[in-house]
């Protein structure tokens, strides 16, 4: 599944006039050429520091390259620090040293840095998103708040002052008590279950008389990771904004949280939520998700999550919160499989279903919900900001 971009052929290519292997033509020129390469990479959005360029030049000097492939591998080892950047590096190398023309229509994106955490590729849906919106429309169950018919572009416009206030409220609430888990480490605790022999030994040596006082240890606690997987499909349109705001607040309050959105495709939006300004964060997040208001493929999306992120350990020991109304257009068998796997890979699964409203004991009667039901540890409502707040309050007990 992971094919490394094919390296440039080791044979010396028919290079452009100034390729780096005319060694001896003047060290200053070669250095200028190498430094220029660093600049070209930076221009394409790679975080190349001056120290990296220095290392690159030193490495090339050390190896006294015999052909261009040496320069390639030197650059790859010194100027690239994550796998996602390899493709960009290869492209820039081809253009800069081998004189290949830049592919048409590709411009450096100034608003979105290449650095995107775990994996930076956006999935472009090949079907027309939104084509199923009409079908989903009748299923929309009213929101308590006003503005059921929010326009598409308006939805992620600026936050109103009330919403900002709500965000702050949620933040304060979550900041109080993130879900926690025990760790292997221990800390001094007068009522701990285990004796701190080391500390007692240390003190005994200092005192060198009598029996030492009993010192005790207990396990330390750490915040549990939290994974939010939000449905942003047509039927969830009215809730999506709340959910994203909620996700943003969570991200601001606790570091260990990952946020994904799905309609027909799963998109990781965690990095977008790291903006200080909530409006910017919302805009960036909205720009990443390409299938707003489309159909829903819960099963396929969760399956993608399990395969791409879950098995790497992203959800291990985590509380996974799936926010969806369960109006699935995909195969229920896929959903059942994905849920089963997910339940094995994480600590707790919480399903937030706006259709559940205040009556959270009964599962809303949709096929997807009855399929997913056995794997859900807790069903929550979350149909408006208030209920999201109450969910945030309950989170520590669920975890």
């Amino acid at each position: 599944m992971s094919s490394v971009p094919q390296p440039v052929s080791p044979s010396v290519p028919e290079g452009p006039p100034a390729s780096a292997d005319d060694a001896g033509s003047g060290p200053a020129e070669i250095v200028a050429r190498l430094v220029g390469f660093g600049h070209a990479l930076r221009h394409e959005g790679l975080p190349v520091g001056s120290d990296d360029v220095v290392t690159f030049c030193t490495a090339v000097a050390e190896l006294t390259p015999s052909d261009i492939a040496d320069v390639y591998w030197c650059g790859r080892a010194t100027l690239v620090h994550r796998r996602d950047h390899l493709a960009v590096f290869d492209e820039v190398f081809r253009q800069y040293f081998l004189g290949h023309p830049a592919p048409a229509g590709r411009e450096p994106d100034a608003t979105e840095p290449v650095a995107q955490g775990l994996s930076g590729t956006l999935n472009v849906p090949d079907s027309e998103p939104g084509e199923q919106t009409g079908d989903d429309r009748p299923m929309v169950l009213g929101l308590q708040a006003s503005g059921v018919e929010i326009q598409r572009d308006k939805r992620f416009a600026e936050c109103t002052p009330e919403e900002l206030a709500a965000l702050r409220r949620i933040m304060a609430r979550i900041g109080l008590e993130p879900p926690r888990r025990r760790t292997r480490r221990r800390q001094p605790d007068p009522s701990g279950a285990r004796l701190d022999i080391r500390r007692m030994a240390r003190e005994a040596m200092r005192l060198s008389h009598a029996a030492p006082e009993l010192r005790r240890l207990s396990r330390t606690q750490r915040p549990r990771p939290l994974v939010l997987i939000c449905d942003v499909s047509g039927s969830m349109a009215d809730y999506s904004r709340n959910l994203l705001q909620f996700a943003y607040s969570m991200r601001r309050a606790a570091r260990k949280i990952e946020v994904f959105c799905f309609g027909t495709r799963l998109t990781r939006i965690t990095p977008a939520l790291d903006r200080r300004n909530p409006d910017d964060a919302m805009k960036l997040a909205a720009a990443r998700v390409l299938d707003w208001d489309g159909g829903t493929q819960i099963g396929a999306s969760l399956d993608t999550f399990v395969r791409r992120w879950g098995r790497k350990g992203l959800s291990r020991g985590a509380t996974v919160v799936v926010c969806s109304d369960g109006l699935d257009r995909g195969d229920p068998a896929v959903l059942a499989d994905a849920m089963e796997r997910l339940s094995r890979l994480c600590h707790r699964i919480v399903w937030m279903n706006p259709l559940a409203r205040d009556d959270v004991e009964t599962l809303p009667n949709t096929l997807a919900m009855s399929v997913a039901g056995p794997f859900i540890d807790s069903l929550q409502s979350g149909h408006d900001l208030d209920s999201l707040e109450s969910f945030a309050r309950k989170l520590p007990q669920i975890g």
């Binding site: 030193t58 080892a77 690239v80 955490g117 775990l118 480490r185 040596m205 992203l314 499989d337």
Partner: protein, 297 residues
């Protein structure tokens, strides 16, 4: 940053590749280049890649090549300095105090003697600093450790010296070669990555993988090797939860060898599938398509 090149540093990338080969490791040109730069510049090498592509093995072979000692620090959640760096042997210290007579105790040197090296338990990082360039320090699966530990490591990797309050500062005379591996279960801090030379090890091509199997299992039948490698490559193209790594390929060839099988067909593959596929869902998926997987190319 730049250190004087060590005597045993290979002269060129090709030399290093040949040396890796002689110790039974097939290093790609990229990996060999990164390693050579790392050796020459005294920088740590960060290896990332899928599970079972030979990240840890590379460090072992690197140590073997230079005739150096391999010091391995296996990271895990909650690892702290006591397990990574050093620890005082309190129990021995106490016994020592009890054994001293009254008159000896009044002597000031008795107390300072308690903090002498014999009571210090060396953990991997301290051992590596003491050993200096005689060691290859392998920090395995760094992504499993906590962020705090990464920050601590950052400090250590920049200076290669630590301060033990009771003893003083221990500094490496020359730097050990450091290899870090990560399975990318989480993203490492940029600061740590910047300090390292980065290399991504992907799955090998068919030719490379055949070469690796030949190196590692010289006794294997040639046709069998070809078929197993082809089958494993097909498995990697399938949408598996856990795609098999090179380690699994080697296990499979070994397993078939143990059974005395010289031909890979659906039956023998089904018997030994457990060596390559380690997930129940995957087993079902592969089981249904076994004929296609082991088919001739």
């Amino acid at each position: 940053m730049s250190e004087q090149p060590r005597n045993e540093t290979p002269a060129s990338v090709a030399d290093l590749q040949a040396q890796f080969l002689s110790s039974g490791y097939l290093a790609s040109r990229g990996l060999a280049t990164a390693t050579l730069i790392g050796l020459r510049l005294g920088r740590p090498i960060l290896l990332e890649g899928e599970v079972g592509v030979g990240k840890t093995e590379m460090a072992k072979c690197l140590a073997q090549i230079g005739g150096r000692q391999l010091i391995r620090l296996q990271c895990y959640e909650g690892i702290d300095t006591h397990q990574a760096l050093y620890e005082w042997d309190y129990a021995r210290q106490m016994l020592h105090v009890r054994a001293l007579s009254e008159s000896e105790l009044s002597d000031a040197s008795a107390v300072s003697g308690l903090y002498s090296p014999e009571f210090l338990i060396e953990r991997p990082l301290l051992s590596a600093i003491r050993a200096g360039s005689d060691a290859v320090l392998l920090i395995d699966e760094i992504d499993r450790a906590d962020d705090e530990f990464e920050a601590f490591l950052l400090e250590l990797l920049s200076d290669f010296q630590i301060t033990i309050p009771e003893v003083g500062t221990v500094a490496a005379s020359d730097r050990p070669t450091v290899v870090l591996t990560s399975n990318r279960t989480r993203e490492l801090h940029d600061a740590l990555k910047r300090r390292c030379l980065y290399h991504w090890i992907g799955f090998p091509s068919v030719e490379e993988e055949i070469e690796i199997v030949r190196l590692r299992v010289p006794a294997a039948v040639e046709t069998l090797v070809h078929k197993v490698v082809a089958a494993v490559q097909r498995l990697r193209d399938m949408d598996l939860v856990k795609p098999p790594g090179v380690a699994e390929t080697l296990d499979w060839v070994d397993a078939l060898g143990v059974l005395g099988t010289t031909e890979l067909d659906a039956a023998s593959a089904a018997d030994t599938l457990g060596t390559v596929i380690k997930d129940r869902d995957d087993l079902e998926l592969v089981g249904a398509e076994l004929d296609r997987v082991v088919a001739d190319a």
